[in-house]
């Protein structure tokens, strides 16, 4: 009975490696295409309006990048974070600063979580979520206005590539904002 088990593990490992190697090559292309599309869409919008920019960015990324299970924004309020435009399954409308989003907002830097179940204080909105990346949106004065949150149903879905492109995207939301 050992053989089938080994076979199974071997198959799983092969699948996993394939996914990872494919993503490395694909990710850059997917993000570059997304950025182009987002820039094109946002051109038509007046300066300084943030919610339509967020909604557009969310829609393009969610429809373009296959390992995005949920993506959207949380606005940083005094005592809690309140959900903004998002796509995917129903999210918690308001969350405390203890989770991954709060950590990113407090540190003012992106947080990549390979396995959300191992992150202390992680707030479970959907059990299907396995890994997460959160990128803060800072205004010109360096204050955190909101965070962009992406969940994947795969473990270890996010890396430096995601971080790099998402950080590049954030300033587009505030274009023309004084």
């Amino acid at each position: 009975m050992i053989e089938p088990l080994f076979y199974k593990i071997d198959k799983l490992l092969t699948k996993r490696l394939l996914i990872i190697s494919m993503e490395k090559a694909e990710k850059e292309r997917l993000y570059q295409e997304s950025i182009k599309e987002i820039k094109h869409e946002l051109e038509t919008l007046e300066k300084g309006i943030i919610v339509p920019r967020m909604a557009t960015m969310v829609a393009v990324l969610k429809n373009k990048i296959p390992y995005y299970f949920w993506c959207g924004f949380y606005f940083c309020e005094e005592t809690e974070l309140i959900v903004g435009p998002y796509q995917g399954t129903l999210a918690c409308p308001n969350i405390t600063y203890k989770g991954v989003c709060g950590t990113s907002a407090n540190k003012k830097e992106p947080v990549v979580v390979p396995n959300v179940h191992e992150f202390p204080g992680h707030i479970v909105c959907d059990e299907a979520s396995q890994s997460e990346i959160v990128v803060p949106l800072l205004d010109k004065a360096g204050r955190v206005i909101a965070v962009f949150d992406v969940d994947s149903s795969e473990l270890n879905a996010f890396d430096e590539v995601d971080r790099k492109y998402l950080e590049e995207l954030m300033p587009l939301l505030l274009e023309g904002d004084d």
């Binding site: 919610v51 339509p52 435009p85 129903l90």
Partner: protein
Amino acid sequence: MKADRDEPIKTAAKAYCEGKLVPSRVTPEDFFENEKARLYNKATTEITDRLSNVDRNALIARMATTAAVLKENMPHYFWVGFYFCGRENMTVGPYQGPPACAIIPYGGVCGEAADKKITIIVPNVHEKVGHIACDDRSNSEMVVPLLSRDSSVRAVFDVDSAHLDAFGEGDQRYVESLMGIVMGNQI
């Protein structure tokens, strides 16, 4: 309708709702009004429950939550979201579905609903004068205005279906009542 004529439609509607059937093969007539009612009731309960913890003024969060619940529960929804009413045009708010026009003029269906302050149902968008095509796959549409207490229109709720003639009085009644909840008028 007699029971024997009823049965295949019921089965089709059930399969459709469970995602077992390719939606394009099911006509909107297959989609039972009572099945819609059941789904809207479920969605309304979920939205009311979720929004009970959300500040009445946090309109964006209330809209995002409503769009998510409806997209998850209603199989005939292809795109669902909100447009805010600006001075000269309308800009998109929280939505679920493929990328939409970020900004639209008042000439389309959304603008008509905002101007007239009434719900507009369009059975076939291709026959509608002034319709703004954001996605070719959209075939029918319903737009419901969000009225403030002073009865000004702040935004509209917009839903598109890939089916022709997907929206009826049932949809209108349930969504109009939901928009009251989104605006916090009924809490």
